[in-house]
């Protein structure tokens, strides 16, 4: 009898703890703003932008000699220079938690996309 009661307490406690944990994650523990740098369909870098403390650059090159320089700052990311013909990736500017829309370099098949950020909108026209 005592054993059964112990089990009830343990299971009830586990259920409450599990439910509590899920609720906490759902409402308070929103995942950080993460940037994924994708080239040719492959994720090359995954960067938690919330954990970035100092600015740094990443050179993205390939065997064709294509080059994009990505600049990462606390909470934000952009393509700062590129040798593509149209420079649309550079002109797109920064992506961040509040502006979580993808940066695209079509000629180099490069995508920088933000995951885990709820922006002010579902998409951006442009």
């Amino acid at each position: 009898m005592i054993r059964t009661r112990t089990w009830i307490v343990i299971i009830a406690a586990l259920a409450v703890a599990a439910a509590g944990a899920i609720l906490l994650i759902r409402f308070f523990g929103a995942p950080g703003t993460t940037a994924e740098i994708v080239k040719g369909g492959e994720v090359l870098y995954t960067i938690d932008l919330d954990k970035v403390t100092t600015e740094y650059e990443i050179e993205i090159g390939d065997e064709d000699g294509d080059r994009n320089t990505v600049t990462v700052r606390p909470g934000m990311i952009c393509v700062s220079s590129a040798d593509c013909p149209d420079k649309i990736c550079v002109n797109t500017g920064w992506a961040s938690k509040n502006h979580p829309y993808p940066i695209i370099c079509m000629p180099h098949e490069l995508i920088i996309r933000i995951v885990g950020a709820e922006g002010e909108a579902d998409a951006e026209a442009g």
């Binding site: 259920a15 899920i22 149209d86 951006e124 442009g126």
Partner: protein, 333 residues
């Protein structure tokens, strides 16, 4: 022991029900097609394969850079026996040209090419060349005879200003036919929505700030297309420091200068929104207002060089200006 098991099941049930929450499953995908980046999110049913296939199918008909597409053949030979869809889209584009007094012109391609916007080899054409290019631009010279489309020598057609719109209309039909009641797709910057969000609230579409990294505001829409044309991404700076963007005014064969930094058109038909956004960017706010008043059937958000955001009366309650953007909001009545 039985009691223990049932308690265990109860705990498992609480755990699972909390994590599922009853929302329809989201299916997201992204891909490159029609020389641009596209992404879609559908709810309840996965239709990403169908969206991509349709984009690739239309690209094989409309692509201006593919010599084997119907448009490619037309531009090389001056004439093509085209599919019903290509003829239909050319006719729709010509209708928009007429409505906008030629501000949209699918024959402006030789000028777009001469300015280098197709290759990235940017150059300001000489005044003589500009005159030649003007003579090679006239939508009224496109001839449609049954399924045969022809243009005069030296003329070229580019459906770039309406092709993504056509895809948008097709995508909405395909998604709705699959029973999807909630979806959003970004087709190279053209935003296409089906129904509302899964939670029943309208879709929120940000309008890019042409002067900065943020947005000028957000428009809430249900079952609509939102298309923006602007000069802020595809441009070059000439030797005098002047920004020259890719939207060419068919009347001058030079980058459009209608006083706008961007023009967004919102409506049911994506071809109309797509074509009109280009035309309105070219014609400027005054003519756009007159067009909106006389034609109707669409709403617009115009960002002017003077720092104003002009929105038409029909969306004044569903557009929310970003307070920090520094723009002045004005309603067009």
């Amino acid at each position: 022991m039985k009691k223990n098991l049932s308690l265990l099941f109860a705990a498992a049930f609480v755990f699972l029900s909390l994590s599922a929450c009853g929302a329809p499953r989201e299916y997201a995908s992204d891909f490159f097609a029609m020389d641009t980046y596209m992404s879609s999110k559908t709810y309840g049913t996965d239709a990403s394969g169908a969206v991509k296939e349709e984009a690739e199918r239309l690209e094989s008909l409309f692509s201006v850079t593919d010599e084997n597409s119907e448009i490619g053949v037309l531009n090389v030979k001056g004439s093509v026996k085209a599919s019903t869809e290509t003829v239909e889209l050319i006719e729709k584009a010509l209708e928009i040209s007429e409505k906008t007094d030629g501000a949209l012109d699918i024959t402006v391609y030789p000028a777009v090419k001469a300015w280098g916007f197709t290759t990235g080899d940017y150059a300001v054409p000489s005044p003589e060349r500009i005159e030649e290019l003007r003579a090679l631009t006239d939508y009224e010279k496109v001839d449609i005879d049954g399924d045969t489309v022809s243009v005069p020598e030296g003329f070229m057609i580019d459906l770039g200003a309406v092709a993504k719109g056509y895809l948008g209309d097709r995508v909405r039909v395909i998604l709705k036919d699959s029973g999807i009641t909630s979806a959003i797709a970004d087709l190279g910057g053209n935003i296409v929505t089906v129904g509302d969000k899964p939670d029943g609230s309208p879709w929120r579409v940000a309008i890019r700030d042409p002067n900065g990294d943020g947005s000028v505001g957000v428009i809430e829409v249900t079952d609509k297309c939102v298309v923006t044309s602007g000069g802020y991404e595809r441009y070059f700076t000439d030797e005098n420091g002047v920004k020259r963007w890719h939207i060419i005014d068919p009347a001058t064969a030079q980058p459009a200068d209608g006083g706008l930094l961007s023009a967004t058109v919102i409506g049911e038909g994506c071809v109309l929104c797509d074509g009109l956004s280009t035309a309105i960017f070219v014609m400027g706010a005054e003519k756009a207002k007159a067009l909106w008043q006389s034609e109707g059937g669409f709403e617009m958000i115009l960002v002017t060089k003077a720092g104003e955001v002009l929105v038409t009366d029909g969306i004044k309650d569903s557009f929310f200006l970003d307070g920090g953007s520094g723009y002045e909001l004005k309603v067009i009545g």
